[in-house]
């Protein structure tokens, strides 16, 4: 018995057989914020075979209160979260293969991973429903279980969706939530994060050891400050006409129209812009170009950050950019094209 996993193997529903299964599994984690770092550390310590982490953001000081894989040095360097997470996780467990993807988890990217790598599980650690409906479509199209998780303030919610066994997120919601409804600015405390991570990880372990009958089968929610708990069984809501898991699925969130090129980031006062064609910047050259215009620019191997008065432009190698200090897509686009053409 490998000492490292001895306590997990002593747990009867996992055992030696379960540990072998866990070791053979590939999990894709979408988002490396609070829920993402919690799930990532738990998965890697549990000894999965491979973890793919996709995140479009970089580490900031405000993340350190709850995003458990990051350090002050990561925030100072503005390291992309996927990269900083990979570095830390490799120290935690060198046996696990970690793939870090700095970028958007759009329909193209997720579908490519699902089709090429056939992962065993997708874990949602995103902060918006646009991404979740894409995950939901990819999961049902390629028959991969996925686990929803979200939290705000002291409240959290989670649910596992299993193609062929449970209805999907679309069946449950019927409508796609509009931005304002879910962009939370109410803050967050770390126990709410950890609780959601626990619900997600428990279902993840059951899925990885293929103990299907142990799955909760419920949408669960809690509030750790008001001491409330609620859970509803989801098996009754399956709809035959569902565009994702119904009889004639069309996977609407993977269609071309859904491939939005701009996105307002939830609660961040920031807009993300993806150029229609991929670019390839030499970041040092780009930083130099900004400096010659009298601007203050800093580069690391992954991005360039430029101060523009009360706004800040952050450009990644592939041309994707974040404009901080605005929620106005047109204004953000204007800044992007002014400085990057």
């Amino acid at each position: 018995m490998n000492e490292r996993y001895s306590r997990q193997q002593l747990f009867a529903p996992i055992g030696e057989e379960g540990q072998k299964k866990i070791r053979g599994k590939h999990v894709v984690l979408i988002g490396a914020g609070a829920l993402g770092t919690g799930n990532a550390e738990a998965l890697v310590r549990a000894g999965i075979g491979k973890l793919t982490i996709i995140d479009r953001d970089y580490v900031e000081w405000s993340n350190l209160q709850r995003q458990q894989l990051y350090s002050e040095a990561d925030a100072k360097e503005r390291l992309p979260k996927a990269i900083a997470a990979k570095r830390r996780l490799e120290q935690v467990n060198g046996e696990v293969e970690i793939e870090a993807i700095v970028g958007d988890a759009g329909p193209e990217e997720l579908e490519t991973i699902a089709a090429m790598q056939r992962p065993d599980l997708l874990i949602d650690a995103t902060d918006n429903f646009d991404a979740r409906f894409i995950i939901n479509d990819v999961a049902y199209k390629y028959h991969i279980p996925w686990i929803y998780g979200a939290c705000v303030g002291s409240y959290g919610i989670s649910c596992a969706f299993i193609p062929g066994r449970t209805p999907c997120l679309y069946c449950l919601l019927e409508t796609v939530p509009q931005g304002g409804l879910t962009c939370d600015t109410a803050g967050i405390i770390s126990p709410a994060v950890q609780m959601v991570v626990s619900y997600q990880m428990a279902e993840a372990l059951k899925i990885l050891v293929e103990d299907w009958s142990a799955l909760r089968g419920k949408l669960v929610s809690f509030d750790l400050w008001t001491n409330e708990y609620a859970a509803v069984r989801i098996d009754g809501v399956k709809k035959d006409g569902c565009p994702t898991c119904g009889r004639h699925p069309s996977y609407p969130f993977l269609s071309y129209e859904q491939r939005t090129k701009t996105a307002v980031l939830c609660g961040r006062d920031s807009v993300q812009i993806r150029p229609s064609a991929r670019r390839q910047y030499d970041l040092n050259e780009l930083a130099e170009l900004f400096r010659r215009q009298g601007l203050q620019a800093e580069a690391n191997p992954y991005l360039v950050s430029v101060s523009l008065g009360d706004k800040r432009l952050v450009v990644f190698r592939d041309g994707r950019a974040l404009v901080h200090g605005t929620k106005d897509v047109q204004e953000a686009k204007a800044i992007y094209y002014r400085y990057l053409g």
Partner: protein, 67 residues
């Protein structure tokens, strides 16, 4: 009327007659919620016509986006 909401016994005013009324009373009517009454999920178009009775067990879970 007395209901068991998310496991807690709660008394609501007489004006609360349906699931719609209940969500409005708790100011959850413009949030995205899943409502279960006596272990049955109520579809959104049934909120206005689903009457609540004394002693009903109601579970309300609302969706959030952050993570």
């Amino acid at each position: 009327m007395t209901l068991v909401i998310n496991g807690e016994t709660v008394t609501v005013p007489d004006e609360v007659k349906t699931v719609s009324d209940l969500l409005a009373y708790f100011r959850l009517d413009n949030k995205l919620a899943i409502v279960e009454v006596n272990v049955r999920i109520i579809q959104k178009h049934e909120y206005g016509t689903t009457a609540l009775c004394d002693g009903d067990r109601v579970e309300i879970v609302h969706f959030v986006g952050g993570g």
